[in-house]
């Protein structure tokens, strides 16, 4: 089944991203800085998201996952491609037209210390989305108190400032803010990476419970494979701007077929000394190539032990190669790594 069939048959997805491309121009020096190249942060990414489910987007630094999240929200204007929410094309909307749509698409950021304005009390931070959309009056404060309680914070502390809260609490404030306008989709950009281990679990639990209660759809972006496995229904693995493998959680973790996915899974440490020491590790050679000048054809070929000539000339499509889920590799082969 090709990708085109997929999207044509099921065009009722809550969110549909098709052939998304985002490039950042690299400017040279001089009086008038001309563009000398482009960072190809996101190169032809396609996926969909349905109500109530979590799509995990996993990859290492520089793979373009954060940029993808922001491009979906139109925080970065996509260079090309389509983002459809409820059937409506977002990339062609003006700022003004996009505003009401933003009520439904929200985001929670990675850094609990930078994502809250240090000069605003928490009540104002959580209430701001409502004020921005013209909701005023005592109902705002009531809802703020309700939201704070929902995320596990004491509403009485609402008049305090962000620096008075711990990292985990600040992240909860960020979640409360994202919930303020009753969104349908929340993009979570590494929401727990900056938190202590013992605090991460609390936030992950909170997100799961909220999803169950409110029917939210999550695009969960992270580099921690264990967290992704825990929370996702489906998983997409990104490398250097492209999705290399996408499928259900079970398919990606237990039947990984792309060499990069396999390398990634084999490198992630397991908290069990016997298993960890007995593991067969796939250690990749070399470094991630520059996104300004990515390799031709399959971008992973410079570090792949299966690379052949065809990998340089023909870009592998993200299609089902007999495993039931889609893989972008000419030599895809199921291998149990975890």
């Amino acid at each position: 089944m090709t990708q085109a069939d997929d999207t044509a048959a099921t065009s009722s997805h809550l969110l549909e991203v098709e052939n998304l491309v985002k490039e950042f121009p690299v400017k040279g020096g001089g009086l008038i800085r001309r563009t000398v190249g482009a960072v190809q942060a996101v190169s032809d990414v396609s996926f969909h998201l349905d109500s109530g489910e979590t799509l995990g987007l996993v990859g290492e630094s520089g793979c373009g996952k954060s940029t993808t999240g922001r491009a979906v929200l139109q925080l970065h204007k996509p260079t090309s491609g389509s983002v459809r929410y409820n059937g409506r094309e977002l990339t062609t909307l003006s700022q003004k037209e996009m505003r009401p749509v933003r009520r439904d698409l929200q985001i929670v950021f990675q850094d609990p210390y930078a994502s809250l304005n240090p000069k605003m009390p928490v009540n104002d931070i959580v209430g701001e989305p409502m004020r921005v959309h013209g909701i005023r009056g005592p109902q705002v404060m009531d809802r703020v108190a309700d939201l704070l309680e929902r995320v596990g914070l004491n509403p009485e502390h609402g008049n305090r400032y962000p620096h008075e809260f711990s990292g985990g609490q600040r992240q909860r404030v960020g979640v409360a803010r994202a919930l303020a306008l009753d969104p349908k989709i929340i993009i979570l950009d590494e929401p727990v990476s900056a938190l202590d281990v013992s605090v991460q679990a609390g936030i992950v639990n909170l997100l799961e419970e909220l999803q169950g209660q409110l029917g939210l759809a999550y695009l969960f972006i992270a580099h921690d494979l264990s967290v992704i496995r825990h929370i996702s229904d489906r998983v997409a693995v990104m490398y250097l701007g492209r999705i290399v493998e996408i499928g259900t959680r079970t398919e990606v973790y237990e039947q990984s077929s792309h060499p990069y996915t396999q390398a990634l899974l084999s490198s992630a440490p397991i908290a069990d000394p016997d298993k960890e020491r007995a593991r067969e590790r796939i250690v990749l050679e070399g470094d991630v190539p520059s996104p300004v000048d990515p390799p031709s054809g399959c971008r992973f070929r410079t570090r792949c032990w299966k690379a052949q000539d065809i990998c340089a000339t023909e870009t592998p499509e993200l299609v089902d190669r007999g495993t039931g889920h889609r893989v972008a590799c000419h030599f895809a082969e199921v291998r149990e790594v975890v």
Partner: protein, 340 residues
Amino acid sequence: MSTEILNVSDLTVGFPTDDGLVTAVRGVSYSLKEREVLAIVGESGSGKSVSAMALMGLLPKTARITGSIRFRDEEVLDMTPRRYREIRGQNIAMIFQDPMTSMNPVYTVGDQLAEAYRSHHRVERKVALGKAVEMLDRVGIPQAKDRARSYPHEFSGGMRQRAMIAMAIINSPDIIIADEPTTALDVTVQAQILETLVEVKDSVNAAVILITHDLGVVAGMAHRVLVMYAGRGVERCDVEDIYRRPRMPYTAGLLGSIPALDSAGGKLHPIAGAPPSLINLPAGCPFSPRCPLVSDRCQTEEPQLLATDLAHHEVACHNWEQVAASPDPTLIFRTAAVEA
């Protein structure tokens, strides 16, 4: 029976601040044998990095350090600055978390390694550079000779960290302190670096103190583990015991709050609350506000690190027997409202 090369006893480090004296490390004790890997595990506020910096003598002058650090047979805290400089880099070397800022951007990598070597060996620059290239090769940097002439910013994150490792081993130290060496790196690079570290430590016969918060990394490398919380050691044992037979509720809680890579497990069981502020420590055991096993004694009397039923396993908890008795210690953190 390998000999003990480091013995830290009741180490305490305090910093005077605007809000009062912050005691970042409150009486930490552990020992390290030759070629042993000791992992010091803790979250923010645990004091793990500060205690390592105390070993190296890298704390600011305002820091107040008491206790004892015995390296082989010398008391480190009594050393003259000159003697300290001799052992620092030569006998005890350190690898920091962020390789970008740990290297001087205006000198080539080869020069910096050579400088590290010449600080402890009277040789010509040429000889030192040769040694530098040898080390870069040892840590797996391709084309080491050319690479030695590059600047730090020309290296990728993983390669920089390898260069840091090279700098640490160039003098064949007895102890390598690795302070969160892979936290800032991608997971595939992390695997490479840890592998390199293991090979390299064996080749120079060094012991390693690995400071981390990642229990997966610990599982792969450590022989012994010290868990720190709020500035003191709360559990000290062999690595298998940490995962299979923990005796400290905090450790059990940590294990229960990590999602597993190899199974799509059920619910995570977080530890309620957050690590305490070092200025505003609770009376008694600092973990008591978050501990499901808390009893009256916990809130008045701070437990000491004492022996348990297992060999080489000490824990600082009044109720450790309850943890020992439970078949799955992570169960103690399950909230009442959720059934399995």
